[in-house]
């Protein structure tokens, strides 16, 4: 995880946004780019894993229900990859799906946001987990 230290010039933090709804990825991507993040998008879990292998990530925002590989599987696999084991994951869920504390522990999911959600709230959460602030950006 790219933790920014001391007075060194701030490097751009990278986010991965995964959702099979193109409207969602488009909107979130443009919002976080404006905030100074570098953003990658994927529309399913498999694609997301491919990106995670090659890019150093600050956080992952993922939808829960997706074709091919769902959000929970994605979070588990990210947990097992050495490079992404500590990357915080924010899960967006449309089913009011309640994850058990054990599932959260196992997958490293830090936040669950039920859809429909507010992009502003998501922004606050991402800035918090990345130790990022608007001023810094």
């Amino acid at each position: 995880m790219a933790k920014v230290t001391g007075g060194a010039p701030m490097a751009k933090q990278t986010l991965l946004i995964v959702d099979d709804e193109p409207c969602v990825t488009f909107m979130l991507a443009s919002r976080f780019r404006e905030l100074g993040f570098e953003v990658h998008t994927a529309d399913n879990g498999e694609q997301a894993i491919e990106i995670a292998r090659t890019v150093e990530l600050a956080a992952v925002i993922s939808d829960f229900q997706m074709p091919r590989k769902d959000g929970l599987q994605l979070a588990r696999e990210l947990r097992q990859l050495p490079s992404t084991a500590n990357v915080p994951v924010v899960m967006l869920t449309a089913r009011g799906h309640r994850l058990s504390p054990r599932e959260l522990q196992e997958t490293g999911i830090q936040h669950v946001m039920p859809k429909p959600f507010s992009a502003r709230e998501l922004q606050n959460i991402i800035q918090e987990v990345c130790g990022h602030s608007r001023e810094a950006a």
């Binding site: 709804e21 193109p22 409207c23 969602v24 909107m27 979130l28 443009s30 919002r31 229900q65 997706m66 074709p67 091919r68 769902d70 967006l92 449309a94 089913r95 009011g96 859809k115 429909p116 959600f117 507010s118 992009a119 502003r120």
Partner: protein, 596 residues
């Protein structure tokens, strides 16, 4: 039973009342005879006593009168007579001479002699009698004292009242006795009625029980009935357990009925071993009726729910009845049984087994539907919220960006409308209230609208959406909104299940008297095992490729319902991984405006 009682009671009541009337009559005539005898004795006695009274009066008054006559004190004699009449309660008291002249009389007007002669006329002894006494005046002769007792004093009035009192009392007593007898005798009457009812074929012992208000006799009778019921139940249980043929046709019919029931019926003894089961129960329990006899029920219904449920049966607070569900069988033939067990008064348990597998499957489909519908609704809501938020947060963004955002919001609102429309229509179809609002429908404009509707979603997925329309599409009679709903669902599915870069081709052309709309896609296709069921409500294929894609399982069901209401139908041909073609067919009817 009630009918029996009503029929029987009047007869018995009249029997009782006629007995009462007869005994009353006997009693009254006895009383009458007694009264008459006593009356006679009383009259004789009163006559004797009256005679004695007159004698006594005659003795005292006679001496005074004899002195008065001797002294020729006429006024004194008359005074004595008046006083004697008053004091002796006589209706008449007078002094008469031998010639019949009246010297003094209590009735002053009856006096005929104004003087007392020197020599009294002789009195014949015949003139004397019961009420006539001789007054002997020495040296002058004799006169007669005549007295008549007053009429009422001869009648013993007090006795009359006493008798009247006795008679009234007797009547009241008879009345009261009849009430008491009726009340006391009622339980016996009811028992007699119940016995008649049994004789007339009444088999329901519970119906023969008497109310608690009937007291000791009723309680005893009821206890007897219950004992009889227990005895009968034991007998029946034994006869059923031993497979003996029942003696009465009634029981035989009941047993046949139970045997032919589609619900499982089991009778188990106190140790929960099967003593009897009908055919359906034998199938549910996975054995034959012979092989199951004597088997503990928990061995046939192997599930944790069974053990728990049967354990609850012995818990007093469940009052001898429990209902639970348990699964039997394996895999595809797994059946969900609802088990209702209750203890039977005669000992043992009656158990009803109902197959609720279908209901549970339907429940699961509905739950899945609610879950899917929630997801379906949340997706457009999420997009609307995100884009509206962006519009609010960036009031100075470029016009192009703003209009792009508004387009997304618009598109998502349409999506919500469709979902809500689908749900409403499904609930209307479920309730049988879906009706078509028939109007002339211009097909060219209908397809233009559809083309505009799907251009965006197709572009977003990079799908080539082509409309191949017959140049002369007719105007038909139908429900435009519902037809759009049906075709939209089919095209929407085609886009949904076609991967990026694929194609969806929509064609419409008249074939004979029908209009045929075909929607062909290059999508994932439908597996053979699912193709029969895709039009079922809430059905979603158990295909991992489908499960990842959200859907309510309603769209195609709804399309079929709408087309069938229009007199048409829908069919599908599909090759997995190559694509599917849905054909929607509905009759072209001449437009209403022309027909009118």
């Amino acid at each position: 039973m009630g009918r029996f009682l009503r029929k029987l009671v009047p007869g018995h009541a009249s029997l009782i009342s006629s007995a009462l009337v007869m005994s009353t009559a006997v009693l009254l005539s006895a009383l009458g005879a007694l009264w008459w005898t006593v009356q006679q004795a009383q009259v004789a006695e009163s006559h004797a006593s009256a005679a004695r009274t007159l004698q006594a009066i005659a003795q005292t008054v006679g001496a005074q009168l004899e002195r008065g006559i001797a002294d020729r004190d006429l006024a004194g004699i008359r005074m004595i007579v008046l006083e004697a009449a008053r004091g002796g309660r006589l209706s008449m008291c007078r002094v008469v001479l031998g010639d019949g002249s009246v010297l003094a009389d209590s009735d002053v007007g009856a006096i005929t002699s104004k003087t007392i002669p020197e020599k009294l006329p002789p009195v014949s002894s015949a003139a004397l009698g019961e009420h006539r006494f001789e007054l002997a005046i020495p040296g002058r002769g004799t006169a007669i004292l005549e007295m008549q007792p007053s009429a009422e004093s001869a009648e013993p009035q007090s006795l009359q009242f006493a008798f009247a009192g006795i008679a009234v009392g007797a009547l009241v007593a008879v009345g009261a006795a009849s009430v008491v007898i009726r009340r006391r005798g009622r339980p016996f009457t009811l028992v007699a009625d119940a016995l008649s009812a049994v004789a007339s074929g009444e088999r329901d012992l519970a119906a023969l029980e008497l109310a608690d208000s009937t007291g000791g006799v009723g309680t005893a009778w009821n206890e007897f009935l219950r004992e009889l019921a227990r005895h009968r139940a034991r007998e029946r249980l034994e006869s059923v357990a031993s497979g003996r043929v029942n003696d009465s046709a009634h029981d035989d019919l009941a047993l046949k009925l139970v045997d032919s029931m589609w619900h499982g019926v089991v009778f188990a003894d106190e140790e929960m071993r099967i003593r009897y089961c009908n055919g359906a129960a034998a199938i549910f329990l996975g054995g034959t009726r012979e092989s199951l006899a004597g088997t503990p029920i928990a061995e046939c219904l192997k599930s944790s729910e069974t053990g728990e449920g049967l354990l609850r049966l012995s818990d007093a607070k469940n009052r001898g009845r429990v209902v639970f569900e348990c699964g039997v069988g394996e895999g595809d033939v797994r059946t969900v049984l609802r088990v209702s067990a209750r203890s039977v008064a005669a000992g043992g348990y009656a158990i009803l087994l109902e197959d609720v597998t279908q209901q549970r499957v339907a429940d699961r489909s509905k739950n899945a539907f609610v879950e899917q519908a929630t997801h379906e609704l949340r997706t457009p809501l999420t997009n609307i919220r995100l884009y509206v938020e962006a519009l609010i947060d960036n009031p100075n963004s470029e016009v192009a960006t703003r209009s792009q955002h508004l387009n997304v919001v618009n598109q998502e609102v349409r999506r919500l409308e469709r979902i809500v429309g689908d749900m409403l229509s499904v609930s209307e179809i479920e309730a049988g209230t879906l009706k078509l609002a028939l109007h002339d429908v211009r097909l060219p404009s209908l397809f233009t609208d559809l083309e505009a509707e799907f251009a965006g979603p197709a572009r977003a997925k990079n799908i080539a959406l082509k409309f191949d329309l017959h140049p002369k599409l007719p105007t038909i009679v139908g429900d435009r909104d519902k037809l759009i709903l049906a075709i939209t669902n089919v095209i929407g599915n085609a886009i949904k299940y076609t991967p990026e870069g694929g194609t969806v081709r929509v064609s419409a052309r008249p074939v004979d008297s029908d209009l045929v709309v075909e929607v062909a896609d290059s999508g994932i296709g439908i597996r053979a095992e699912d193709i029969e069921r895709v039009f079922e409500r809430f059905y979603r294929a158990h295909d991992p490729r489908v499960e990842k894609i959200v859907g309510t399982g309603l769209g195609l069901a709804l399309a079929r319902d709408v087309l069938r209401l229009h007199g048409g139908d829908i069919s599908v041909q599909s090759t997995p991984d190559r694509g599917s073609t849905f054909a929607l067919k509905f009759p072209i009817r001449s437009p209403m405006s022309r027909a009118a």
